[in-house]
């Protein structure tokens, strides 16, 4: 390729490449933004489920506390045997563990989705996006992803705490 050919072809080539990059950038950013919207809905649903579990664990704790206060002659395992046919009943043990583990699994999946979106958004930033698009694109997405980190404080409580709480249903923990 001679300098003359380059001089002639470059402006057109620049334009074409710029147009392609801009158009791909816009569509990529729009797709990531659409997935981010879905992600936000999932996070909200997860928060609502976590809060629901938390209030029920609190309700259970409260009624058991009341039970012990009013009928101190009864021990917790005795109550468990009443609530369930037997503390060693195979139905008893998985009652809350499977739900607690399922909750943790869901949180992990949401975190993995957040990481995926984070990687894509970083990749988009790294491709020298034209400035106006960069402004409307990845910065907003990155900030949004950071805000919705499921490990952050805005959660009612961490899932691990909820799991610990749900352990009150186990006879082994409260013999």
């Amino acid at each position: 390729m001679t300098p003359q050919i380059l001089t002639d072809s470059c402006p057109r080539l620049h334009d074409m490449l710029n147009e392609s990059i801009i158009s791909l950038w816009i569509s990529s950013t729009a797709s990531v933004a659409a997935i981010c919207d879905k992600f936000l809905v999932h996070v909200e649903t997860f928060r609502s489920i976590s809060a629901y579990v938390e209030i029920n664990v609190a309700g259970f704790r409260k009624i058991i506390k009341q039970f012990h206060k009013q009928l101190p002659q009864y021990v917790f395992t005795h109550l468990q045997k009443l609530a369930f046919s037997s503390a060693s009943d195979s139905r008893f043990q998985p009652k809350y563990t499977d739900l607690a583990l399922e909750l943790l699994r869901t949180q992990n999946r949401i975190e993995s989705l957040r990481k995926n979106l984070d990687i894509i958004s970083q990749a988009l930033s790294a491709t020298m996006a034209p400035l106006p698009i960069a402004e409307l694109g990845t910065e907003t997405i990155t900030a949004l992803l950071y805000q919705t980190d499921t490990q952050k404080e805005q959660y009612p409580r961490h899932t691990t705490d909820l799991i610990k709480d749900s352990m009150i249903f186990f006879p082994q923990i409260h013999p």
Partner: protein, 119 residues
């Protein structure tokens, strides 16, 4: 915030979101059963552990658990499916768009490299 107020707020939120009220530990009802149990204990003067006296409390608590568990299982199942779908979507997007962008940018950089030789 007090437990009762928190619960009332949550039920209110359920209604405002237009969904049916979710099952909760029926604290009020259980408290009522508990009071009846205490009254019964005092009336008969019995302080020993008698299973039959507490069966109503136990079965009510168990019924609450089952309802909560059923509801949660459905909710978590549906959320997991939705998250899984979005993960697949994000993976597909990540592979196709990232590669196309990278190759375009590579060409763009090459052109920019040749620019310096143009007089």
């Amino acid at each position: 915030m007090r437990f009762g107020k928190k619960l009332a707020l949550m039920i209110d939120q359920d209604l405002r979101h237009g969904r049916e009220v979710r099952p909760y530990i029926s604290h009020k009802k259980l408290k009522q059963i508990l009071s009846d149990m205490v009254r019964f204990q005092k009336d008969v003067g019995n302080t020993s552990a008698d299973n039959s006296v507490f069966s109503e409390f136990g079965s009510h608590l168990n019924c609450d658990f089952e309802q909560i568990k059923g509801y949660l299982s459905l909710e978590l199942h549906s959320l997991n499916n939705a998250v899984e779908d979005t993960i697949t979507e994000s993976k597909d997007l990540g592979i196709s768009d990232k590669r196309s962008l990278e190759s375009l940018v590579a060409v763009y950089k090459q052109v920019r490299y040749f620019d310096q030789f143009v007089i």
